[in-house]
Structure formats: C-alpha cells, structure tokens
Amino acid sequence: MKIAMIATEKLPVPPIRGGATQIYLDATAAIMARKHDVTVLSIRDRDLPDVEKNKNGVSYRRFSQETYIQEVANHLRTETYDVIHVCNRPRWIRHIREASPDSALVLSIHNEMFRDDKISYAEGVDCINAVKQIVTVSDYIKMTICDRFPQAIGKVATVYSGVDVETFQPKWTAQGEKIYAAIRRELGLEGRKVVLFVGRLSKVKGAHLLLEALPSIIKKHPEAVIVFVGSKWFGDNEVNSYVRYLYTLGAMYENNAMFIQFVKPEQIPQLYTMADLFVCPSQWQEPLARVHYEAMAAGLPIITSNRGGNPEVIENGKNGYIVKDFSNPEAYAALINKLFDEPSSSIQMGKYGRQKVEREFNWEVVAAKLLRAYGEERG
C-alpha cells in the first residue's frame, strides 16, 4: 500500500520537539515502512530538510506551518496514495477528500475533537461520511464521538497508543538494577520508598492532591518520598501561581517531596526505573495519558484516577488500582500505603504491567491494528 500520514500543524515529525501524536505517527510509520510505501507529511523545521527518506524507509515531506493544509492538499493533488491517515484534524477531511477523491481516508482522534465547540454538527457528519474508518486512542474518546454522532458507531474503533518497550528498563532486569542504584544515589534517595508523578504541573493533572496525601503516607511510611517530574509545560520552567502553590506546600515536607524541573526527555525513562510506584491523579477527563504506558513499561504498579480513558489500561488489582474518589487525597494515600505495605504484591503488579505493555501496547501491535484499519488483510 502507498500510505500518507498527515501530522497536525503543531510540531514536526520525527518528534524532535516532542508531541504525543508526533511520537505515535513516527513510531508506527517506521514499522509500516517495512512492507509499505509510507510518507509522513508534517510542518517544516529549521533542523530538518523539507524532503527526506530515513534509514527506516519512511519518506518525509514538510510544509510551511502558516499554509500547511493548503500545501498538503496541493501535494495530494499531484501524488496519489491508497490510504491517507489524518491525525486529529477532522475539519481537514473535506480538503483532503477534495484533493484526493479516490484514497481511503482514515482519521485518528487523540482528544475530544468532535466536541460541539471544536466542530459543528454538519461538519462532523460530513467528516464521518467521508472517512473509511476513525481510530481513537481510548474507548472514552470513542464514546465522546458516538454520543454526539451515533451514525459514526460502525466506523469508530479504539486503537490504543503504544510505547517503545526497549527504552524502559524495569528494576528487576540487570540493566534496570544498575540504573535504579545509580539514579537513587544521584538523587539521594537510597533506601527510600519512591512515588513517582510525571506530567505537566497544572491543576487538572492533580499533583496537589499527592502533596495533600503526604501526611497520611508519612505517618505510616516516614521514608516515603514523592518525586514530581515536570513543569508548567515541559521545557517551560516559568513558575505560575499553581506551581508556586505546589512548591510552597511541598516545602513543608522537604524530606518527603522532591521536584525535578530540569530534565531532558531521554532521562525520563531512568526516573521511572528508580521509582517504586507511579501515580496519575488527573482531575480532568483526559483521553489516556501516555505516562501509563511508560510506567507499565518500566515495571511500576500504577494508581490512576477514574477519569477519561486512563482507567482503561488498568486491570484493577493486577497492574495497579483505579481511584474512584479521585478528588480525595486520602483515597490516594490509602492505596499508596497499601502498595508500600505489600512490597511483593507491588512487584508482582509491576511485572504484570510490563507483560501487558509488551503484549498489548508495543508499537508493533499499534502499527498492525492501524494497518487493519487501513484495509490490510489480517496476516
């Protein structure tokens, strides 16, 4: 098959400047290119050529951010593809259909793009009629589409995202053991029980609830420490009032709360490796945060809030716990204490999570599912 994958206008592919959808496209394109002719279209970047073919056999074409969709449409008028995968931009479908009337269009949706403030009802219906298939990153996102557009039900399927499992080393592997010891030594966390939070420091991500939970955790486990990795936005270390609130509250527990702001993306897997458990206290209905795949790949048991798509990758009691009373700090404290009280069951959960991610959420699986959505025969 000749496949075009169209990234959003936000960031370039490969994901040299980050971006969850850019990671998703680049990882799956590399796998598909083993058997198919794959071109990824994205915006231009000063550090990338406008046209290239990489060692994985993926072709890239990059266009100006200001006139991106027009230039993409022009390209599609001159180059024919069997399948065009449009990433997270339902309103572009009509331009793409017009430019390439015979291609099969597949739309992947990564957040609530079919909400009424994002797309009108008429545009939504036109988009659904024009595409062959819509793939969503979680059942929650699928539901947000089908609730408003019941006519989409037969065309929408969940294809969970994935992670590069090789990048993450659980602490029980030989390499993981070394990373675990080295990072703990570097951070002064030897002999501590480490809870890890990775994410943007914003109210909706709920980091403050973990600080609120700390007194109840310390009471039972004085050696506990919560490590917060992230800033307002990754790479943006400006302190807003929420972050200042976290630092102020955190300063009251200076032996039990640690903030790591300045971290390079490539160092994050090592921080997962040195932790004992991972908590995602998100307060918003988020599509399904990538941190869950990463924590599982690093062999950590996960405690996550019952919000959006997050609980979909948790088998309650097997690879972690789902917090129903998600705005109550004590609910997190109770589960964190439970995992600290039962270290062997915590390790078992981490191992189960690692098996689950290897089986269900590695990029090979994601690429195979996408190819089926494109129309490739099974096997």
């Binding site: 403030d117 403050h208 200042r244 009251m252 307060q283």
Partner: protein, 339 residues
C-alpha cells in the same frame, strides 16, 4: 521611543489624520496611548495577547456597539478590521470618552452601576464569535474551579497549622474550617439542574461577562453611564460579575451590608431579571469564600511584593468579617425573596 514608533505604525492602518500621540500607561502586559486625530480623541490599547484572542474581545466590543450598548465606540481600520495584529501584541483603537468617575460611597451611583451591569449582560446575549476568534469560555467550569479552590484552601490550612507563631496564619486557621464548610455548601449547590441548564443544552447562556468588573471601568456622562474601554470579556454566567462587583463594594464597607446588597440586586433586576433558580446560583457564588481564599493565596504564595504585614493583617481581617456577615445574611434571607 520604540513604543511611539509602534503606535505610529499601527495608526497608519486607520483612516485618521494623527495630530499627536501621548503614552498614558505602560504595564508589563498592556500599553495605552491617547491619540489626537482629525476626528477627535482616540485611545490605542496594546495587549500582550494572541491576535486571535484580541479579535474575540474586539468582536464582543463590536457586538455591544451593534446593540446600542453605551461603550466607547471601536474604530475600524482602513480595511474594515476590528483590531490589528503585530507579532505577540495586538491593538485596538476606540474613541476616548470623558465624564465623571463612579464612586463606591454614593448609593445612587452604585444602583446606576448595577443597572448598567444588567444592561451589559442583556446586550451581551446572542454573541457568536467568528471562527477566527479564540474564544474564552468558562461555561460549565465552575464545579471544577470550586473543587480546586477548596483543595487550595485546605492546603493553606495545612500551611497555617505549621506557622503557629505567625499572626496571619493564626487568624486564617481559626476561620478556615467555617470557610471550607461554606465552600463545600456552595459546591454542593452547583450540582443543581439550574446550573446544568444555564451552562449547557438548548437554553444555555449565550452572552459574555466582564469578569473583572470594577467601578473604575465606568464613567458617568451627562446622558448615561458608559463603559470606557474594551474589556477582556469571557463567556460565563452573569452572576459571576454580580458577585465580583458586590464583593468589591462590600470590601470597601468592611462588612456585608444586607440592605445595600438588596438595593443593588433590585437595581440589576429591573434591567436584567434572572429567575429564582439563577439567583440561587448567585447565592452559591456568594457563599463561596472568594475574598478569604484570595487573600490567603496572595499571602502564602507571596503574590504581592509591596504588601506589608500590616496590610495583610488588615486584608484577612476584612475578608473574614465580610465573609462571615455575608454568610449569615445569605442563610437568613434567600436572595430570591429580596427581589
């Protein structure tokens, strides 16, 4: 000099002969010039905001103007544009209007201000920003915001408990439980059908609000009260503006004046009547200890470099007095019965 040069360049896009430009205000996120032109005095406002966001404000301004709401008229560029984009800054030009300031200690003026606020909300309805404008929308977001503020209050309570020798923390801690209880009660009141109906579904609110209304934004001309400049509006329920303005006035009084509150709400009601259910949402909004939470945030997060310890003490004492007297009044007399 550079700012003068920028103003010159922006003004070239407007169909006026510029006679003189004078820098009025320069803040980190806003610069204002007065401009003498062949068609009278104008005001040029530069905001550090996305041009798409400025377009949203300008479209709201234009919407008010189209509906004959008394606001300083917005000027269009030679190409018919409502505002001008320039990198990370955006500009809007409007007529300068002059008149008397509106004071906090004149009841008649306060009543006029509340009637004016009602007029503003009535005119804001049926607003439909263009697809190019970046909307600010807070409809339906109060429950989340209340929950966060509650959590924040509980965090400050923990901090206060740790600073037993700090007079501000002692005062804050003593009042905190009652304030948190009031905040919980207010949060519960938002779980009503009235909130859901007013923020979503076919009968939802279609207007915008000022968000940071204060009397300094208003002037009295000989004929009418006027809004003197383009506000950074937001799509949200009008009871938020009522709450903000009532709190600003009552803070000046240093206590909740039940009788004055009734007069001001009656003035609003004459121009823009709300339903009993909607006034109950105003009750929830008033019950929430916004003043108390705001002083605590400033203190514990050190948000005001120039506030002395005495100033903080005065602020927390006033906030506690206003909050307590207000909560008593609201529990004694439901708002709908005042109207």
């Amino acid at each position: 000099m550079q700012s003068q040069w920028i103003a010159d360049k922006v003004l070239e896009l407007y169909p006026y002969e510029v006679e003189q430009i004078e820098l009025q205000v320069m803040r980190p996120k806003e610069t204002v010039w007065t401009v003498a032109t062949d068609e009278g005095e104008k005001v040029l406002r530069q905001r550090a905001t996305l041009p798409e966001r400025m377009l949203f404000y300008a479209e709201a301004h234009w919407h008010l103007q189209q509906r004959q709401f008394p606001i300083a008229p917005l000027c269009r560029t030679k190409n018919g544009g409502l505002c001008v984009a320039g990198g990370e800054q955006a500009y809007a030009l409007y007529d300068a209007v002059s008149g008397k300031e509106v004071g906090y200690y004149n009841v008649e003026q306060l009543e006029n201000a509340f009637e004016f606020l009602g007029l503003f909300h009535a005119a804001s309805q049926q607003f439909s920003p263009s697809s190019k404008a970046k909307k600010r929308n807070r409809l339906g977001k109060w429950p989340k915001a209340y929950t966060w503020k509650l959590q924040e209050l509980s965090g400050y309570k923990k901090m206060a408990a740790a600073f037993a020798d700090d007079p501000f923390s002692v005062l804050f801690f003593e009042a905190a439980d009652a304030m948190i209880a009031a905040a919980e009660e207010a949060t519960k009141q938002l779980e009503s059908d009235a909130y859901a109906e007013w923020t979503a579904g076919p009968n939802r609110w279609t207007g915008f609000i000022h968000k940071d209304i204060s009397l300094s934004h208003l002037i009295e001309t000989e004929e009418t009260m006027m809004m003197s400049y383009l506000p950074a509006v937001v799509i949200d329920l009008p009871v938020r503006d009522i709450q903000v303005l009532l709190h600003k006035i009552m803070k000046k009084m240093a206590v909740w004046d039940e009788e004055l509150a009734a007069r001001l709400l009656q003035a609003y009601h004459r121009v823009h009547p709300l339903t009993d259910d909607q006034y109950r949402l105003l009750e929830a909004e008033l019950l929430f200890p916004h003043l108390f939470a705001s002083v605590a945030r400033k203190y514990y997060l050190k948000a005001k470099d120039n506030w002395s310890d005495e100033k903080y003490m005065w602020e927390i004492q006033t906030a506690i007095t206003v909050e307590r007297s207000k909560q008593d009044a609201l529990r004694r007399t439901p708002l709908p019965s005042l109207l």
